[in-house]
């Protein structure tokens, strides 16, 4: 993915120093991933664009707190984005809506129009495919619980109420799904064991 390019760690060194080029590189590398997640959670472009800016502003302000040994840069940024999006959803008191078919098509067109770095895009596409394979292995009920928690920011009791399942069942599904997903991604070399 990064042949001839700066590694994530080197980019973050630059961000910590306040190097403008480093933050621009960081955005170019992960802006699309962050935007995709934000749009999936918030459902509208305007709010998502604000969220993307806020994610990178926080990354810049809090660069000193990033520890590579605790996680990858991409997931650190995704974590910031997801937390901000959940805050926004709770603030709105609304739940996210999935982009409908027309929206998906529009998003795909926008994505392809911006594929100006084939190596980055290939890396991200490969990663998406591997993640999709791993998630496909999860039982539907477990996956549903995880998606409601991750994308909608629902608590376990909110999920139980939404699905009409006992709270204990939701807790069990979440625990099993977490372990299973971790094992699968570890086998794929996506995460440490």
């Amino acid at each position: 993915m990064q042949d001839g390019e700066a590694s994530d760690e080197r980019i973050m060194e630059g961000v910590r120093r306040g190097d403008s080029q480093a933050i621009a590189t960081l955005y170019d590398r992960y802006g699309g991933v962050i935007f995709s997640l934000g749009l999936r959670m918030l459902g509208d472009r305007e709010a998502t664009e604000e969220l993307v800016q806020e994610v990178f502003l926080r990354a810049w302000r809090q660069a000193a707190t990033y520890q590579p040994n605790l996680g990858r840069l991409s997931t650190w940024l995704l974590g910031i984005a997801r937390n901000l999006a959940v805050d926004e959803l709770r603030r709105r008191g609304a739940r996210p809506r999935r982009a409908d078919g027309e929206g998906d098509e529009l998003l795909a067109r926008i994505a392809s129009a911006n594929e100006d770095d084939p190596a980055e895009q290939l890396s991200i596409t490969t990663r998406r495919q591997e993640v999709a394979r791993a998630l496909a292995v999860l039982p539907q009920a477990q996956r549903q619980v995880m998606e409601l928690a991750y994308y909608s920011g629902l608590t376990q009791s909110e999920i139980a109420a939404r699905l009409g399942d006992p709270l204990g069942t939701v807790k069990t599904r979440m625990r099993l799904a977490t372990q299973k997903l971790r094992d699968l991604l570890h086998e794929m070399g996506q995460v440490p064991g």
Partner: protein, 314 residues
């Protein structure tokens, strides 16, 4: 393993979806259990790596990049202004809207000025750095003196007098620098003692200290949020705090359940140390972040209105 750890809850914890009681249990546990803390980090990494990528691909428009870089330039400029604090510059930091905005809509190059030019190394306030500007002249601090020409017996020509004068000046400078160094060491020791004293008084027993990080670190500010596991009080202590004008004040914020709440003002003493005790009513153990900003002294807004100078995740 789960008898001692809380592995079964870490997935829900990483997702922020636990019920209150379970959340409290995990929060208390991970503060003292490095193993579970690492597990939680790895699970979070795994979940973000999976669900974060399992979304329809989309890209923001190019204007988002432009706006982001312009906002960063604004913050960098505001921080630069803070490097030499004065009433005017502190006001500029605290009111970024008033800082001149880069004309990014006019196609001007972004970051025409250095994003964050090199600044003095972080230092504690009151510890005046020993500046050594390169003036091209002989520096007024100790150095290896040039060999002094030896004159014949009884010779006390102008060059000898000048050499002795230079040696005297050098010796005096050496004493001054040595004194400054000793003073600096003493000041650090006093700071450590003060901190230990505070901790001893207010936080006997086990406590956790979260380091505050942020752009102000580059300007010499440093600090910690100190808490005892499971308790609702905390202490924020910051060193290297520049004096502010009467119009603006350093304000501590807590982020809880998606909302910001003011935690009090930080008023630096003569040595640049400021602290604020977060009382029981603040329920610090329920907060997920602490931040410090500058706010108008006569009116604390309901949410932070200026860029975070320092922050820490709890």
């Amino acid at each position: 393993m789960s008898e001692h750890h809380c592995v079964e809850l870490l997935g829900g914890y990483a997702l922020g979806s636990l019920e209150e009681a379970d959340h409290e249990r995990v929060v208390s546990h991970v503060r003292i259990c490095a193993w579970c803390r690492t597990e939680a980090e790895q699970i979070a990494d795994c979940l973000h790596g999976a669900f974060g990528y399992h979304v329809p691909p989309a890209m923001p428009g190019s204007h988002v990049r432009d706006r982001l870089l312009a906002r960063l330039a604004e913050e960098a400029a505001a921080l630069d202004a803070m490097a030499v604090p004065s009433d005017a510059t502190i006001a500029a930091v605290a009111t970024p809207a008033e800082v001149s905005t880069p004309a990014h809509d006019q196609g001007s190059p972004l970051f025409a000025a250095p994003f964050a030019p090199s600044r003095p190394e972080p230092r504690l306030a009151g510890a005046a750095p020993v500046e050594r500007p390169d003036t091209g002249r002989t520096p007024p601090w100790p150095h290896v003196p040039s060999p002094v020409p030896v004159h014949g017996p009884g010779s006390r020509g102008p060059r000898t007098v000048r050499a002795r004068w230079l040696a005297s000046i050098s010796l005096l400078a050496a004493v001054l620098v040595l004194g400054l160094g000793v003073g600096l060491v003493n000041m650090h020791r006093q700071l450590d003692n003060q901190r230990a004293h505070l901790l001893g008084d207010a936080f006997t027993g086990a406590h956790a200290a979260m380091v505050l990080a942020g752009p102000a670190v580059k300007h010499g500010m440093s600090g910690e949020v100190i808490m005892r596991p499971g308790e609702s009080t905390g202490l924020v202590i910051v060193a290297g705090v520049p004096k502010s004008s009467g119009k603006m004040t350093y304000t501590c914020w807590l982020h809880q359940s998606g909302h910001w709440m003011p935690g009090g003002s930080l008023r630096p003493d003569a040595s640049g140390i400021a602290m604020v005790v977060l009382g029981k009513s603040m329920n610090v153990h329920k907060a997920d972040e602490v931040a410090i900003t500058m706010e108008p002294a006569n009116r604390t807004p309901s949410v932070p209105s200026t860029p975070m100078l320092l922050s820490a995740s709890l």
